[in-house]
């Protein structure tokens, strides 16, 4: 249901005069750049701490200016365009990435209604009625930057890295899109401010927890971050699509990656964690500082997600490419589709005032079906494992190491068993 | 927001739903049934669903209703064409299901995506796989074909056009022999078809701009009340006509026909040649007779010109052909011209004539291509005309049946072709386009020449020493040929029952 008590609406933001729009644009831009510098520093400090070392602490107090120093260093590097590269597209690709990543942040509601320079407005650039769809589409345009960078570099490793990165991004984009359907179902709108406004009673992280889990996993996959970052792993494809880039063009890709992380985290905050809303029970804080305290709440949730990203990077090992493609296509998509069906049926039942018995019965039936299907899957997997292990543990004349070794997900080719049969006389 | 729950008359769209549901079931069979059982399941599902759909069509006899909120119109012409399509599809599916003719197992390749001559293709051939994915593809195409003449607005027509075309693009590339030719045919069909669909869509947009609605009855009203800029409307009509004429392979949008008919596997050619024309002409009839009937003084000259050029050029090009499938392709272009002659006569007789011609032509086509699958040598089908000489010595029955089909194509009395041509030319004459009739008769005479030439070749020439053999047709092909031949004869000798059926059915609902 669209809540009529939305305090930030498109009407409010539509009344902004031109100079206010420019002021807000610059504010958002500066906010993003500062957050990027902060997250570069934060990542290196936090990962270092997790690895029992100090991290950058020389440039500025606590090493806070490390990001800036990195930027200046990159600016002073030589700008190389490889001979085999397609010059125009080579220069265009980071520009596309950088432009689209900033544009995606335009509809994120960062505060409630505040007064800025004497006018009643909100710290949100604009509010489209299809806000979330806009963000997803701009993110898709950002994939162009990756693919064009790899293509125009004129060498194979960037091309393969770019293709892999983009294949990964689009695979997880499907899962991300599907996980948001339940949110729209409950909010009755795609506009970001309406979704924040509709989370006044319960945050969607509580009501739609599976959607939140799927969204979180797919947002990590979409931004090419650990543990899904094989496309840029140094041992695999050197630098992936930005191998041939140097100096500030490389910095633009770096910037675009971190702004993407911020955007998906901000989207997660908006859609699932209630945006700028205070924790339930602390609602009175939303009025502090003339409404600006909501920004503190938003920032706190954003930083929590950022820490979560960094934590994942510092803790989890990389997944193999085929493992996480399999995960994205074969696990996330069916789960999201089934969850969408469950949510829509439950909502339809509750809207029609079905008695609780029906709802409980339906939920129970769904759980039962899922258990049955899950056990069938388990049985099939167990059979496959037995078949594999019977092949490996056959006695043979060859020195076979002591097994239990965990068997990879690839099927063992049938050739070894044939040769083992032959030597078994 | 007031949401008005749409009323869907499921009974009236039941034939389409049955065929599409069977197609989805076919996809599930492909996914889950083990390979050895797939063929049986698919043949049963395909033939069963087509028969069920035909029963549903028969039960709808006499309905005259605009269904599904104006998107589907179920009236006499729709039901007649759907019934014809389903019967033709039975013949087509019987040919597609035939496994006893080709030494490799079926007329379809094992693995369509491999490069011809590559290692992967050799492995696929050696594995002996016979794929059955053709069946759900055929059913999807058939579902689109059933919807195409029944469309009540331009958007539904476009959706049906795409649903019927996309599987056909794919099926054209599945021939087992001469893979390169087959893949070329599929690519050409796809590219040209995509372009023509784009033309259709752009034309629909222009017509929408004129009329403010895409529904055919709404367009009709807008034309009668002169709602807007005529130029926009005429441009839209021109573009839509381009899209539709591509599908029926009228000149100058015929370029795909010879290559695709030759390159596609012959069962698919049979299905495509017969059913696509029926469906597409159904759509043309509905668009021009229902939607644009008020504009007839504008489109009649255009279509008359197209019909004349199609008839003349179709027969002239067919004269020089040396490949049987290409010759039949060019002759089908000529027949499209003949049917357009009936369309141009904007009266009930024209409608009846076109409907009868479609039915007659469809069955003759199925039969003719079925016989082409029977003449084989060591490399597959022997389609060069010289290889067909003296065929009557080896198998008089097959040669006589083929002669029957050729005579039906030529329009010789006692065959369905004669009654059809007579109906169409009579209608054209009664509506005043005597030029069309004269050109039509002359083209028929020229066409008769190359049809009779083949008959003479088969019966009176010496057979080649290492010539092809005529395989004894296994049961499915026999059934298809019998169906086609009997309909051709019955429609030629005793057409009155079908003509009466058409007469009662030939009334469009608005």
């Amino acid at each position: 249901m669209i809540h009529q008590s939305a305090i930030v609406t498109a009407d409010l933001l539509g009344k902004d005069p031109g100079w206010l729009i420019i002021v807000k644009t610059l504010l958002v831009f500066v906010f993003l750049v500062i957050m990027v510098l902060l997250s570069i520093w934060g990542e290196r400090r936090v990962v270092a701490r997790m690895q029992m070392r100090l991290g950058p602490n020389r440039v500025g107090p606590f090493g806070l200016l490390q990001g800036l120093a990195d930027g200046i260093k990159l600016a002073l590097k030589e700008d190389i365009v490889p001979k085999a590269a397609d010059r125009i597209v080579f220069i265009l690709a980071p520009i596309i990435s950088a432009t689209t990543c900033f544009m995606a942040f335009a509809v994120i509601p960062m505060t409630g209604q505040v007064s800025l320079l004497g006018r009643k407005t909100a710290f949100q650039l604009t509010d489209l009625s299809v806000g979330v769809l806009y963000i997803l589409s701009i993110a898709s345009v950002g994939v162009y930057g990756i693919v064009l960078a790899g293509w125009s570099s004129g060498s194979t490793y960037p091309l393969l890295g770019a293709l892999r990165s983009s294949a990964q991004v689009i695979s997880y984009e499907v899962a991300m899109g599907l996980s948001l359907v339940a949110v729209f179902l409950y909010a009755g709108s795609m506009s970001t401010s309406d979704i924040v406004a509709s989370q006044d009673k319960w945050w969607y992280v509580v009501v739609l927890f599976p959607s939140f889990v799927i969204y979180t996993i797919s947002m990590v996959g979409e931004t090419n971050r650990a543990p899904f970052d094989l496309a840029e792993a140094e041992g695999e494809l050197v630098g992936g699509f930005h191998t041939e880039y140097s100096s500030l063009k490389f910095a633009l890709f770096f910037l675009a990656e971190y702004v993407n992380i911020l955007t998906v985290s901000a989207l997660a905050t908006t859609l699932f964690l209630g945006g700028y809303r205070a924790l339930p029970g602390l609602g009175f804080t939303e009025r502090w500082l003339g409404g600006w305290f909501t920004f503190v709440w938003f920032l706190a949730k954003l930083l929590a997600f950022l820490f979560f990203f960094i934590w994942l990077r510092g803790t989890l090992p990389r997944l193999r490419y085929d493992q996480f493609m399999k995960f994205g296509w074969k696990v996330l998509i069916p789960i999201s589709l089934v969850w969408t069906l469950i949510v829509s049926t439950l909502r339809a039942l509750s809207l029609r005032g079905a008695p609780t018995a029906v709802i409980v019965g339906f939920t129970g039936g769904v759980v039962l079906i899922l258990l049955v299907v899950g056990s069938l899957f388990e049985a099939a997997k167990r059979k496959e494992q037995e078949a594999l292990s019977s092949v490996i543990t056959k006695p043979s004349h060859f020195a076979v190491p002591q097994l239990p070794m965990s068997i990879s997900t690839h099927r063992v080719p049938s050739a070894p068993s044939r040769s083992m049969e032959a030597t078994d006389e | 927001m007031n949401f008005h729950v749409p009323v869907i008359q499921y009974a009236e769209v039941l034939p389409i739903l049955i065929v599409l549901g069977a197609a989805v079931l076919g996809v599930l069979v492909e996914a889950f049934i083990p390979r050895s059982l797939r063929y049986v399941f698919q043949v049963v599902i395909s033939l069963g669903s087509i028969l069920l759909a035909f029963v549903a069509v028969v039960r709808l006899h006499g309905t005259s209703h605009v269904a599904v909120e104006g998107s589907v119109v179920v009236d006499g012409p729709t039901l007649f064409l759907q019934g014809t399509l389903l019967l033709l599809a039975i013949g087509g599916v019987l040919l597609i299901a035939e496994r006893g003719l080709d030494t490799g197992g079926s007329a379809f390749t094992a693995h369509a995506a491999t490069l011809p001559g590559s290692e992967a293709e050799r492995t696929a051939l050696a594995s002996g796989i016979i794929q059955t994915e053709v069946f759900p593809l055929t059913l999807f195409a058939l579902g689109g074909m059933l919807l195409f003449p029944a469309a009540g607005d331009l958007v539904t027509m476009f959706v049906a056009l795409e649903v019927l075309s996309l599987p056909l693009y794919l099926m054209s590339g599945l021939a087992r022999r001469r893979r390169l030719l087959s893949q070329e045919a599929a690519l050409k069909y796809f590219l040209l078809g995509a372009f023509s669909s784009a033309f259709f869509l752009y034309g629909s947009a222009l017509i929408y701009g004129y009329a403010g609605t895409v529904s055919l009855s709404g367009i009709r009203e807008a034309i009668s009340s002169n709602a807007g800029n005529d130029l926009v409307l005429l441009m839209g009509v021109a573009l839509v006509t381009v899209g539709l004429l591509f599908k029926v392979s009228a000149v100058p949008f015929h370029a795909w026909t010879p290559d695709v008919y030759q390159g596609a596997p012959t069962p698919v050619t049979a299905f495509m040649a017969a059913c696509t024309k029926v469906a597409a002409f159904g759509a043309i009839l509905r668009l021009f007779y229902v939607g644009l009937s008020g504009l007839r003084w504008d489109w009649r000259p255009m279509l008359s010109g197209v019909a004349i050029v199609t008839m003349v050029l179709g027969v002239i090009w067919a004269l020089t052909q040396t490949d049987m499938k290409r010759m039949l392709a060019y002759s089908s272009i000529a027949h499209a011209g003949f049917i357009l002659t009936g369309v141009v006569a904007v009266n009930k007789a024209g409608l009846e004539g076109s409907l009868f011609y479609l039915a007659a032509y469809g069955f003759t086509t199925i039969g003719a291509f079925a016989i082409v699958t029977l003449v084989r040598d060591s490399t597959g089908e022997a389609t060069h005309l010289s290889q067909w000489s003296g065929l009557a010595r080896r198998s008089p029955l097959v040669a006589s049946t083929f002669a029957l089909f050729l005579l039906a194509y030529a329009g010789i009395p006692l065959t369905s072709g004669f009654v059809a041509k007579f109906a169409v030319f009579a209608a054209a004459y009664s509506s005043g386009s005597s030029a069309l009739v004269i050109v039509g008769v002359l083209s028929s005479a020229i066409a008769a020449f190359f049809y009779i030439r083949v008959i003479v070749l088969m019966f009176f020439a010496e057979p080649k020493e290492d010539g092809p053999t005529v395989v004894v047709p296994p049961i499915m092909t026999t059934a298809a040929i019998t169906l086609a031949a009997s309909v051709t004869l019955v429609l030629g000798v005793m057409p009155s029952s079908v003509l009466d059926l058409i007469k009662s059915a030939a009334r469009f609902t608005f």
């Binding site: 831009f29 509010d127 806009y134 179902l185 296509w329 829509s344 | -």
Partner: protein
């Protein structure tokens, strides 16, 4: 319309920043020509000559893109349905269940046929 102007504004700011960076990179960096630096990078060894566009790109990338299109279109159909779900009644629910079931059939077919394998 005026709701989209801020988007243009931030797009212009981002674009301007990117152009400024690219120009600054060309100006502030040193220019020490070294022929080796212009070759494609392959961990220090001679780059294997390979046609970038002419070499065969594995078909599985194309397949993934095609499947993405199919499921993205499904998502596009799901979004407006979800937004106006409360007003659509049971009819809306049933129709969408049938739609999702049909897409599931296609998904199952692709799964079984190995279209989702990546190795």
């Amino acid at each position: 319309m005026n709701l989209y102007i801020p988007i243009l504004a931030i797009g212009a700011v981002g674009f301007g920043f990117a152009i400024f960076s690219v120009l600054a990179a060309a100006l502030t960096g040193p220019k020490r020509y070294n022929r080796a630096r212009l070759e494609a990078y392959e961990c220090g060894i001679e780059p294997t000559p390979q046609a970038v566009g002419g070499g065969h790109i594995p078909i599985k990338y194309f397949l993934t893109a095609m499947l993405f299109i199919v499921f993205d279109i499904e998502i596009v159909f799901l979004y407006p349905w979800a937004v106006s779900f409360d007003h659509l009644g049971l009819f809306g629910l049933f129709e969408m269940v049938i739609f999702i079931a049909t897409v599931f059939v296609a998904y199952a077919y692709v799964w079984r046929r190995g279209g989702l394998e990546w190795d």
